[in-house]
């Protein structure tokens, strides 16, 4: 049913153009966001995987790798 309705769609050449415009807009938004982002937030995020026992209160015993660091 819906297939029949849409079969009259014309001008498929517009599709690739739409897709490019959508992407460029999307990309621009991310770049704008990137320049406006809070520095402290970035600092925190960067170190998220590396948090040490003290900060996260990990109660790990015998963790050789972490101790060596």
């Amino acid at each position: 049913m819906i297939k029949d309705l849409l079969q009259s769609v014309e001008g498929i050449t517009i599709y690739p153009i739409i897709s490019l415009i959508v992407f460029v807009l999307f990309f621009a938004l991310i770049i704008i966001w990137m320049f406006r982002v809070d520095k402290n937030y970035i600092k925190k995020m960067e170190n998220l995987p590396l948090e040490k026992e003290g900060e996260t209160n990990f109660n790990i015993t015998g963790d050789f790798y972490e101790k060596k660091v």
Binding site: I30, M45, E46
Partner: protein
């Protein structure tokens, strides 16, 4: 503030790690076997279950979904709870996920050699297994999102975004590509046909590479590389740009697998443009990974874990530069259907996936076993023979791919094909196939060393099954303005946002091709397959002929000279599924019909070398003795009719009579020529199908657009 106690489940991490190792060895062993069959066809042992066409899908599925899949889950089940400062949502769901996934792999390992396949690359598994995959994938998703909802860390680290995008996209891909009509318990037909089926399949196939082999591993890279190097990622801002542009762009690039095919031109161009744009985010990711090690390169020299990771990230960079180059039409014209593509995917699989997995496991296993790695030296040896293996593998395949392609395209002074016999071009590259198998064997040996090393490590240490931890609970805050930080604080919204981003690409690609009739001009002389041909086609699918033979003649003079008239979109309208193939280990078969007498096919199937000396095609003697199962013919006709093939109503009842009649004609012809053919054998159906191929437009002129 009151700290809450909880624990990390290391047991499930260990289980997934062991599964990764076991399936890695199995998958690569099958890889070495099929690589050897290409220069020694007798290694098929004339056993149906070991022939190339059936176990090549086993190799790809085992490596992608068993080896890489379990590696992804190992990495996620370790990093996700730690980044969220919470236990996994449900230990029970973790177990269901683990055992469910392993059962699916076992089911694949049984059904694929049995020839139960949908024929669609990387989606070969039949519908009951497809359903099981869906259930297990949902279990995994609930477990992951559940963990994120009860997390104690406010922000969601970029690795987890990649995990979320992986989950949601694989779910969409799997469902869309698996819409099929069951015929029997292990046989189904896709609802799409021909060009549409090809488009859906390569939208799936391309994004299976993107969202199963790339995004989850980028997530792992963003967690384990900083961990192993003990320094934060080079640029977190870059990682955000990397993430959004990568998932946005990837989803559009699928049509680059179908350049010069019968797919509408605008869709091909779309695939190329987005593929070229993909270089930017891919290299952003690679640079981000490599620059994380700035000032620490001295450690790369000593630490095998970092070595593995550096080569992995470099291989990622190489493969993601090569990919866009291959999607340029002029490069694709040479590379497509050749070993070049095999080389390209193995740079990705062996280098990026294999080595990042190795680096991760060498780091992770000692950690959960509270010990040091058993032998650093052995890990170094693994690194070097693995690298050497990749070099042998890739250089041999680049060489053979380019050499064979140029031979296909070479014309002599008379304007005739220089190498009109396809086999001549095959024999030329046999030494390269040997070197490839040698490279693969080296890589497999390296894997064996890793298994030994890690098993020893596990023996020396003791698994900390539940690692105690504590963290402050997450406090509810007031209303926040809508921003990226807000978005990533809400995993469900984040999931929906990723879903929208990937759906845009899919919809723009599909809607016109599916809904506009002018995109696929109908050809009046193209008729549905007869019942016997349909049965023959299913044998073609069962034996996996499409793994080595394409059914798509590109509009090049070198191809129309060799194979005949180039393929038209309208010729495939009754092909559920499409069988274009992606590799020409043997010649294209789209105009095979009428090229040789029935007798030739009969003898060739029994032993290809009797007709083409030196051929590397496996023998199929069982086709001459197996009786054709015609019990499902009516069900097949019904299923085909329900998805749009115009068999008249009631035809299912007379289908088997027609089948017997047509089989009788072919059998009589064979007997007249002196072979003891019997009309109820599978070979008759296969010959009927092969003789039909491409003949619809040979007989009559094309009527064109109606």
């Amino acid at each position: 503030m009151q700290l809450e106690k909880f624990s990390y489940d290391n047991k499930i991490v260990r289980d997934f790690a062991i599964a990764t190792l076991v399936w890695g060895i199995v998958g690569m062993l099958v890889g070495v076997l099929i690589a050897s069959q290409l220069f020694a066809p007798e290694l098929n042992f004339n056993i149906p279950f070991l022939t190339f066409g059936r176990i090549r899908p086993l190799h790809t599925n085992a490596v992608i979904f068993a080896f890489v899949g379990n590696a992804i889950f190992t990495g996620i089940y370790y990093s996700l709870p730690r980044l969220s400062k919470a236990s996994m949502f449900s230990p029970t769901l973790s177990r269901i996920h683990f055992w469910g996934w392993q059962l699916i792999i076992v089911a694949a390992a049984i059904t694929l050699p049995l020839g139960l396949t949908s024929s669609k690359e990387y989606a070969e598994l039949e519908w009951p297994i497809d359903l099981a995959i869906t259930i297990v994938w949902v279990v995994f998703g609930i477990n992951m999102i559940g963990t994120l909802i009860k997390r104690r860390e406010k922000h969601i680290y970029v690795a987890i975004w990649f995990y979320i995008a992986t989950w949601v996209t694989v779910a969409v891909l799997h469902i869309v590509n698996s819409i099929e009509i069951p015929v029997t318990l292990f046989k189904s037909y896709p609802v799409y046909a021909g060009v549409q089926d090809a488009l859906v399949q390569w939208w799936y196939g391309h994004n299976a590479v993107a969202f199963f082999l790339t995004t989850p591993f980028l997530g792992l890279m963003y967690y384990y590389l900083p961990k192993a190097a003990n320094r934060p990622i080079y640029s977190y801002k870059l990682s955000i740009v990397h993430f959004w542009s990568l998932i946005f762009l990837y989803i559009w690039a699928g049509p680059h697998h179908l350049l010069y095919s019968a797919l509408p031109d605008w869709a091909q161009s779309l695939g190329t443009v987005f593929s070229i744009m993909l270089i930017a985010p891919s290299w952003g990711g690679m640079i981000n990974g490599l620059l994380t090690l700035r000032g620490a390169w001295d450690r790369v020299r000593k630490d095998p874990i970092l070595k593995f990771m550096v080569v992995a990230v470099t291989a990622y960079g190489m493969a993601t530069f090569e990919g866009p180059m291959l999607s340029l039409k002029n490069v694709n014209a040479i590379a497509h259907f050749t070993d070049w593509i095999i080389s390209h995917v193995h740079i990705g699989a062996l280098g990026w996936n294999g080595f990042l997995t190795a680096g991760m496991l060498y780091w992770l296993v000692p950690k959960i076993y509270k010990t040091e790695l058993f032998s650093k030296k052995m890990a170094n040896v693994h690194f070097w023979i693995g690298t050497l293996g990749i070099v042998f593998y890739a250089s041999a395949m680049y060489w053979s791919g380019v050499a064979q392609s140029l031979m296909w395209k070479q014309f002599n002074d008379m304007g005739m094909l220089q190498y009109p016999n396809f086999l001549e071009t095959t024999l030329q590259i046999i030494p390269m196939y040997m070197i490839r198998a040698f490279g693969g064997t080296l890589y497999l040996l390296g894997m064996c060393l890793m298994v030994y090393n890690l098993v020893k490590t596990m023996k020396v240490g003791t698994l900390a099954e539940y690692e105690e931890a504590e963290a402050a609970p997450l406090l509810k805050e007031g209303k926040e303005k809508i921003s990226h930080r807000w978005l990533e604080g809400k995993p469900i919204y984040f999931l929906v946002a990723s879903l929208i981003v990937i759906l845009i690409g899919g919809i723009v690609e599909f809607v016109p091709t599916f809904l506009i009739k002018s995109n696929i001009p109908t050809i009046a002389s193209v008729k549905p397959y007869t019942p016997l041909e349909l049965q023959g086609r299913d044998i073609y699918i069962r034996e996996g002929c499409n793994n080595c033979h394409s059914q798509l003649i590109r509009p090049f003079r070198s191809e129309t000279e060799r194979y005949g008239e180039y393929s038209k979109a309208g010729e495939y309208v009754y092909d559920h599924p499409f069988l274009w193939g992606s590799k020409r280990t043997g010649p294209d078969l789209h105009r095979e019909g009428g090229k040789y007498p029935n007798l030739w096919h009969y003898l060739h199937m029994e032993n290809p070398r009797s007709m083409s000396p030196g051929s590397i095609m496996p023998s199929y003697p069982w086709l001459l003795t197996n009786t054709l199962d015609i019990s499902a013919t009516p069900a097949k006709i019904n299923a085909m009719r329900s998805i749009g093939v115009p068999y008249p109503s009631g035809y299912e009842n007379e289908a088997n009579d027609h089948l017997t009649k047509q089989a009788g004609v072919i059998t009589l012809d064979l007997q007249k020529n002196g072979v003891p053919a019997e009309s109820d054998k599978e070979i008759i159906a296969l010959i009927a199908y092969l003789q039909r191929l491409g003949t619809d437009i040979k007989a009559k002129p094309i009527v064109g657009n109606k």
